[in-house]
């Protein structure tokens, strides 16, 4: 099988990284992006995904899946070469397909370009031109999928939480709180 030989070594030990690997040896670090900057970028795309997901009325599981896709992508590619707004928008689009919560590409484009515009009115003119943005998303989708090597298996904490809540039989209010934390 090709996967074992050709894929980079990280796929063999899954997607678990040590703190040192994340903080000192991420692809972005090689391009001169500091640890602090990358942490900020990570916060930025996560809050962007959360809002974009809410605008598209997506379940939390889909949003969490999109965040995982983004994290995985930036463990193999650099922030310097891949704009996070594009990658995050693609992650949501792809997560919708993976989690069976399909949204039309045009809806994703509309909400994403609206949000990007609010974040940064001057730059990123290209994102406001819909056709260009659409092509960009379609190309980035292939890039994202091939970067993470179609490895979309992920363990999200929700199932564990649901089971814990069921066993412990807690109050509904507490269950809701706990759900909001993960």
């Amino acid at each position: 099988m090709y996967t074992q030989e050709e894929e980079p070594q990280c796929s063999m030990r899954g997607w678990y990284f040590t703190r040192r690997e994340i903080e000192y040896h991420s692809p972005s670090r090689r391009d001169g992006i500091s640890r602090k900057q990358e942490t900020q970028l990570r916060e930025l795309y996560c809050s962007y995904l959360k809002e974009l997901g809410m605008r598209l009325e997506l379940p939390q599981v889909t949003i969490a899946c999109a965040m995982m896709l983004c994290h995985r992508f930036y463990m193999r590619q650099s922030h310097a070469k891949n704009d996070w707004k594009t990658i995050a928008s693609v992650s949501i689009f792809l997560a919708c397909k993976i989690q069976d919560t399909r949204r039309p590409l045009n809806d994703v484009l509309r909400e994403a370009s609206d949000m990007v515009h609010k974040l940064d009115a001057s730059a990123l003119q290209y994102i406001r031109r819909k056709e260009v943005f659409k092509e960009l998303i379609l190309v980035a989708e292939i890039l994202l999928l091939s970067t993470i090597g179609f490895d979309l298996e992920m363990q999200l904490p929700y199932l564990l939480l649901v089971e814990a809540l069921r066993t412990l039989n807690l109050f509904p209010v507490l269950a809701e709180r706990a759900w909001n934390y993960v």
């Binding site: 090709y2 996967t3 599981v61 792809l94 399909r102 989708e141 179609f150 363990q155």
Partner: protein, 323 residues
């Protein structure tokens, strides 16, 4: 290995096609090994480009997780070529010449039925142990390898992982649902047909039951004219209409109200003796009949699991060393 450069195929050598997906028989240039190449075009449902087809994503992700396994089709690689400026994705599998449907046409004797259903159940149990619901098990998505006399489960384009809880949105069920619309309707469990929002691993077991009966009788068990209401009435005419006592909540599903009651469906009471089912599959013995009825149980949570089915009395006298 098996990348775009190393695999060649002839466009005239088409094995199978469904909508715009086509499977070609190809060859690996270096080793001469036969391969199957499945082409999946860009998702262009409703006239708009929607990027990579979700079926491709599902199939590749899930096959990477499940193979290699003796009862799962071997996945080699996926690559992308340009076709009129749009990417065309190709998945390379091992080549198998025969589907289970073709094998059933040649009539199977009871010992072969037992051996094959045991293999199918082992394959399904493997999927389920990896939290994968196949969602499209039928006699054409199961292939047969003549040399080893083994079945291989294929056709994972509609599968999904259920390692996280999910509810299917109502609008999704009606508009996009691959599980409901695209899969072969004759093998669909009643919870799909009734548009229930909760389906899980047990849904596959209904399909396995249909395949089991098909092998034993040599023909499709519930054959209807591809609409969910006639499919349901076909099932009900054999197994009887489920009541709230058999399956709590059944009458509150969307499909029940909208389709059955609107059509003024003639309800029949549930047939506890399974006479009609026995008449459909006369070739099965008592144990086989018991296993089949446990697979075709209305309530999804009471249906037998793949793992339990493997320990059923029906397989007691099966020589498991020769599988």
């Amino acid at each position: 290995m098996f990348s775009g450069r190393e695999v060649e195929w002839d466009a005239s050598n088409r094995i199978w096609s469904w909508e715009k997906n086509i499977v070609y028989k190809g060859k690996c240039k270096d080793t001469g090994e036969d391969v199957a190449v499945k082409q999946i075009p860009y998702d262009s449902s409703k006239g708009k480009f929607e990027g990579i087809h979700p079926n491709l994503i599902r199939e590749v992700t899930i096959l990477r997780r499940l193979s290699p396994h003796q009862y799962i089709v071997q996945f080699h690689n996926t690559f992308c070529v340009n076709d009129n400026k749009r990417p065309l994705w190709n998945i390379v599998f091992e080549y198998l010449s025969c589907t289970l449907k073709q094998l059933i046409k040649q009539k199977l004797d009871p010992s072969n039925v037992k051996r094959l259903i045991y293999q199918i159940l082992s394959g399904v149990a493997h999927c389920h142990s990896h939290s994968v619901i196949h969602r499209n098990l039928n006699s054409e998505s199961i292939l047969f390898e003549e040399n080893s006399r083994r079945i291989k489960i294929a056709g994972f384009g509609l599968s999904r992982s259920c390692s996280i809880p999910f509810g299917v949105e109502e609008k999704f069920l009606k508009s996009y649902s691959p599980g409901v619309e695209a899969a072969d309707i004759s093998y669909q469990p009643p919870e799909f047909l009734l548009l229930s929002e909760n389906y899980s691993l047990s849904s596959d077991m209904w399909s396995v039951g249909c395949i089991f009966a098909e092998m034993a009788r040599g023909d499709v068990l519930f054959e209807a004219n591809s609409c969910s209401v006639s499919q349901l009435s076909e099932i009900f005419s054999v197994l009887g209409t489920p009541t709230e006592a058999d399956w709590a909540g059944v009458t509150s599903y969307i499909g029940w109200e909208e389709e059955l009651e609107a059509l003024d469906y003639n309800f029949t009471s549930k047939d506890l003796t399974l006479e009609a089912l026995k008449a459909k599959v006369p070739a099965l013995d008592v144990d086989g009949m018991d296993l089949l009825s446990q697979m075709l149980t209305y309530n999804p949570s009471e249906r037998i699991t793949a793992k339990k089915a493997l320990d059923h009395a029906y397989f007691k006298n099966l020589d498991k060393t020769e599988l």
